[in-house]
Assembly symmetry: C2
Homo-oligomer: 430 residues x 2
């Protein structure tokens, strides 16, 4: 009976079959210890000469890394085993050979590994990260679905830019047109929220940024909720609840994977509501106190975000930035019209911004003014302006970058390990 | 207390507040009947002159379609009401006005409506379709998640084509490179299945097809599962179970929406396992018997698929097509090497192909041969070939186009209504 390694606990004492690959092995004179993997986990299979006979034992002598094998044997609980179980092998069949597998237990450079990303993902560490990514994405979707948000996909091909065109990828759309790849579904989300109340989109977004930092990919996934009849406080409450929910679920369901990548769980366990809510003004004060050369009025750079986030044991929400450095679509603070009703959520441990959101500008006249001030072509935004002409309502939402959340929750140095096939300035292969 | 219309059944007799828009209204001398919508549903609010006083009653006299309003009143069960409930209005506040809303209850042409798609989605019918789409997508994700499949996102930017380049959209990737927008995540899925066992990807895919048919969009969403250690029968079993699961869940949870779009539920209720499994050879016989001028050897066209699918009350699985008309990556049938071990699932009622899948070619030498025969650049596929060099295993999977499934389940004539912002040959706006 074919059993997945992750389910083996319910088959102790039974004769089962594992279909997978040889991850590693060592041998003593009369016993082979074979570490098998099947995509759901890793397990040690113990093959003794006495148990399988001389011929099969000898055949297993030269099995090399990543040979695909079907192993039949008896599942056994073993407290010393990392997963708690082992298999006593009765039979082993080689399905596909593997000669000179290029990724060995020794150290390889990151470019070497990225060139072989299709194989690198078989490693215990990369495998664990991708399973955590899977859990994070499902936690996000469940969070919105149980709250009655409707998934409404926004287009990838867009005719105009959300915020300028310098970081847009152009695509040739048949002979004579140019379509730009989306940087954000937000403007469409706003239209969808007016139709469906509370919505989210969740898809790939694109940014043609030439910076080679550890926080940037050219292609990354973003979830963006948007709510009709909501203000900045609702946006902050939602962001906080989302992050708490994700972290809690990953701790709950992916403890084994977090352990495999040696994540310090105590850091994640302190991620609880309420998150500190700090105004931009207060944040600037903190930076100055810490000796950073930051002047009021600018957006925070990566070192500023790192310093701010290091002040807290959980994410911090920084709100009300100078309107001048933020998007044209943000509502100004009625109490201080030079400030925007926006929020950035900075992850702890120096991971920086993971969420950016705001209450949107719902007033028709003010929006028209802003579009002019920003030198945007009004015609391209007529449909967006329509939302203020026909039953405008206060509304708001945010965007959360999945790769940055994965990097933070897994404790990774670089976002390139957070997605199966990272796309960067000089990387399109494989 | 703010309540969403879909939750009103749990607040009968209470004073509640609805935040939404005026969808429609009619008045008799002393009563206004206001149809409100808030994105979660529609409800009639009854405002009597006696109940709200002359002034407020008169103010509501001229409320126009899509005015945003906050209405407070008492929820009341009413068997005659479409949703089963009504509200007796105590107070009404106008949030945003709406003058000359461009989509009226009269008939509009489809181009007129598509130009106003950001408003059209507020209509009862479009709103219902998008909610069914949401349910279908979540049914798909839950199906794979509960079975232990891992979501592994495949890249949008790809360096080479899966099957030729004529229908690819090129994107300028920084100064000097061209990236192609993905048509399928399959090849990457195969690598991911070797790492994670059972995987799926679910994202937008792109096809630069100039055909203006009712089945084609240039940008559409596709889910693609892939399983290691699986053969064609496993692929067919999985496809069948998925479709049954989706249809059952939509009937179960979106009955109100299906009723709003007047879908014949009996057609959906017959979608039960087992689906007929018909070989290509048998399918050709059926077409000839029906008088279609079809010759053995070609792929089916839309009229052929329509005729075939009309023979059954549920989806039909057609398997083992001539290898010559199918992808280079499909395993040939050992019994008849001129046939591919593939399957297409055709939806009933003439909706045609919704799923295409196969067992993949796992043999290294045969794959190298095929790549030559198809004049593909071997270098670009080296990483894919690696999967056969290092522990190859039998494996297979399929792709299912979401928009076609939505069109079929909702009984729509054209896929353009299945996604919030359809992208077609001449349509990039809004």
């Amino acid at each position: 009976m074919h059993v997945y390694i992750e389910d083996i606990g319910t088959h102790v004492g039974e004769q089962i079959t594992i279909k997978g690959w040889l991850h590693n092995r060592r041998s003593s004179g009369k016993i082979h210890f074979l570490i098998l993997r099947d995509g759901t986990g890793f397990i040690q299979a113990v093959m003794s000469k006495a148990g399988v006979g001389d011929e099969m034992f000898k055949a297993a002598d030269h099995l090399s890394q990543e040979t695909s094998v079907v192993v039949t044997g008896t599942a056994r609980a073993d407290q010393r085993a990392p997963g708690g179980y082992e298999i006593d092998v009765a039979e082993l069949e080689v399905i596909g050979e593997s000669h000179d597998y290029p990724i060995t237990p020794k150290e390889h450079g990151v470019d070497y590994l990225l060139d072989r990303r299709h194989l690198w993902i078989r490693s215990e560490r990369q495998h664990a990260i991708l399973r955590v990514r899977h859990e994070i994405i499902n936690a996000v979707r469940d969070f919105f679905n149980v709250r009655g948000f409707i998934l409404a996909d926004t287009p990838i091909f867009t005719p105009a830019a959300c915020e300028g065109t310098t970081t847009l990828f152009p695509a040739q759309y048949f002979e004579d047109q140019t379509a730009y790849l989306t940087q954000s579904g937000q403007l469409y989300n706003e239209a969808n929220a007016m139709a469906l109340g509370r919505v989210y989109c969740f898809g790939p977004t694109f940014r043609a940024e030439k910076s080679k930092t550890r926080r940037h990919l050219t292609e990354f996934w973003m979830v963006e909720p948007e709510m009709a009849y909501a203000d900045l406080n609702d946006v902050m409450d939602l962001a906080e609840a989302l992050v708490v929910s994700i972290v809690g679920r990953v701790i709950d369901r992916r403890r084994r994977e977090l352990k495999a990548i040696e994540r310090d769980l105590s850091k994640l366990e302190s991620v609880k509501a309420p998150f500190p809510r700090v105004s931009y003004d207060e944040a600037v004060k903190i930076l100055k106190e810490k000796g950073l050369p930051f002047e009021w009025g600018g957006d925070f750079g990566a070192p500023d975000e790192t310093t701010l986030s290091e002040q807290y044991d959980r994410p911090v929400m920084v709100h009300r930035y100078p309107a001048a450095v933020k998007g044209f679509y943000m509502k100004p603070d009625p109490a201080h019209p030079n400030l925007a009703l926006n929020v950035d959520v900075l992850a702890p441990e120096g991971y920086g911004e993971i969420i950016g959101g705001s209450e949107r500008l719902a007033d028709l006249d003010l929006l028209l003014e802003r579009i002019k001030e920003h030198h945007l072509p009004q015609e391209a935004f007529e449909w967006y302006i329509d939302l203020r002409r026909y039953g405008t309502v206060p509304h708001g939402g945010f965007g959360m970058g999945i790769e940055r959340v994965v990097a933070w929750i897994c404790g990774l140095e670089h976002v390139r390990e957070t997605i199966p096939y990272p796309r960067m300035l000089y990387r399109l292969y494989p």
